[in-house]
């Protein structure tokens, strides 16, 4: 296998390395490639995950933890400089075959260091039943990218806090993470993180290619897509919001909102309120296709008198139920 190195020691943001994988997959001659990278604290969620149901966005913002989406499938992970990221690029396209072969290679390297590492069916490597490595697969037309974490050490508290969503009212139609107990390799090793990386590299790779500055510029171009709000936030799968509220003198409400790409698609309202008008025709159907923000909803209901539909319900009360 060929190790892919960068021309200098410059540190990059996480999407640079995802772009580097794509560059290797799309531009380099057919072959098996591998490289390792480390980043400042970041969370990375899967291609089809809903940011807010995977990540504590506020905690991440407060603590300077960056948030990125990747193009491979699977769940959300936390990375910092002591969680080593592995990238493997191969022309093999059979998903199971490629995955298994790669996982066994990595498992074998850990075993050589005396660690009782085992691959699980869910694309993880565990030690003592606890996860040290989670892996994901991105299948391009003629190449496959497998990448994963390798927890040498990490700030577990930050990992747990950043990947525990604060907003639990959301039900994603996309892919949900499987939360597991983790452990770190430094508990089983006496060698340093740099020594560990060298060992991995020597055992997996027998040659090296050093990318030049032109390649780095091309990688930065690919990286742009990963940095856009459209990719990070706009790519969220559809989700359902369920809100329950009691309004004194009106009744109990339970609303279910289906949101796709930030726009309301379906609104259901249940409860013990007293109906005096046509709920769907005069109220709920007006919200279809409206942006899911208080101001857009208010705008859409400009000419509606909500108390003509539900007895005693004021418009601002109705809007509060939705958000």
């Amino acid at each position: 296998m060929i190790y892919v190195a960068l021309p200098n020691e410059t540190q990059h943001r996480l999407p640079f390395y995802l772009a580097m994988e794509e560059y290797v997959a799309r531009m380099l001659p057919v072959g098996d490639y591998f490289f390792m990278w480390q980043v400042e604290p970041s969370v990375i969620f899967g291609r089809n995950q809903l940011l807010n149901s995977e990540v504590d966005v506020e905690y991440c913002r407060k603590n300077g933890i960056q948030m990125y989406r990747r193009k491979s499938g699977g769940g959300c992970v936390y990375a910092d400089r002591s969680n080593i990221m592995f990238s493997y690029i191969t022309p093999d396209s059979n998903v199971n075959f490629t995955f298994n072969r790669y996982m066994l290679m990595v498992e074998h390297v850990l075993q050589k260091l005396g660690i009782d590492a085992k691959t699980t069916g869910r694309n993880d490597i565990v030690v003592d039943g606890k996860k040290v490595s989670g892996n994901a697969f991105y299948h391009l037309p003629e190449r496959s990218i497998v990448h994963g974490t390798m927890l040498y050490d990490t700030d577990i508290e930050r990992m747990v806090n950043s990947t525990t969503p604060s907003d639990t009212k959301l039900k994603s139609k996309g892919v949900e993470s499987v939360r597991q107990h983790v452990t770190t390799l430094n508990k089983y090793l006496t060698i340093s993180i740099e020594e560990f990386k060298s060992f991995v590299r020597e055992n997996l790779c027998n040659s090296e290619i050093i990318l030049d500055d032109v390649a780095v510029e091309q990688i930065k171009k690919i990286e742009q897509e990963y940095l856009t709000d459209e990719f990070i936030y706009g790519h969220n799968p559809a989700y359902t919001v369920i809100n329950k509220k009691r309004i004194e003198g009106v009744g109990e409400f339970e609303v279910r909102l289906e949101v796709k790409k930030g726009v309301l698609r379906k609104v259901n309202l249940m409860g013990d309120y007293f109906l005096v008008g046509d709920l769907d025709g005069e109220l709920l159907s007006l919200l279809n296709g409206v942006e899911y923000t208080p101001s857009a909803v208010e705008n859409a209901l400009q000419n509606v008198n909500t108390s003509n539909v539900i007895m005693n319900l004021k418009k601002e009360q109705f809007i509060k139920i939705l958000f």
């Binding site: 899967g46 499938g73 396209s93 995955f99 694309n123 996309g174 799968p237 559809a238």
Partner: protein
């Protein structure tokens, strides 16, 4: 052995297109769904989006991998298979009945560059 349907056109990236007049129904082949395993999410474009032959227009995610969807034809998306939002596993059950997007073709002759059933059968080595 993968199911291959006569009369469809096939791309090397394992999408098919079924041509009906000025429309093409695009999905992934039985071979592709088998390679990917249980599908858990289909990332589809919006109606009115443009697709271009050879360019990606979404992705299929299985329990193992996310795979780019490459359009075999160019044109405008006129319909997406909404059923896949709630039941992505339909792609596994019958990938040919459960197309992903319906495209109004901008150049019907593009299909001629694709493989027919026999050529695709040879391509996947069956």
């Amino acid at each position: 052995m993968s199911k291959i349907v006569e009369g469809l056109y096939y791309a090397e990236s394992h999408e098919y297109v079924k041509i009906e007049g000025e429309y093409g129904y695009v999905g992934i082949t039985d071979y592709a769904q088998h390679e990917l395993g249980n599908v858990v999410y289909v990332d589809m474009p919006d109606v009115d989006d443009e697709v271009e032959a050879g360019a990606d227009f979404g992705a299929v995610e299985s329990v193992k991998a996310a795979s780019d969807l490459i359009s075999p034809v160019s044109g405008t998306v006129v319909e997406v298979n909404e059923a896949l939002n709630d039941q992505p596993e339909l792609v596994n059950t019958d990938p040919y009945a459960n197309w992903i997007i319906k495209v109004q073709l901008s150049d019907a002759s593009e299909a001629e560059k694709l493989m027919d059933a026999a050529a695709y059968k040879a391509f996947i080595g069956e």
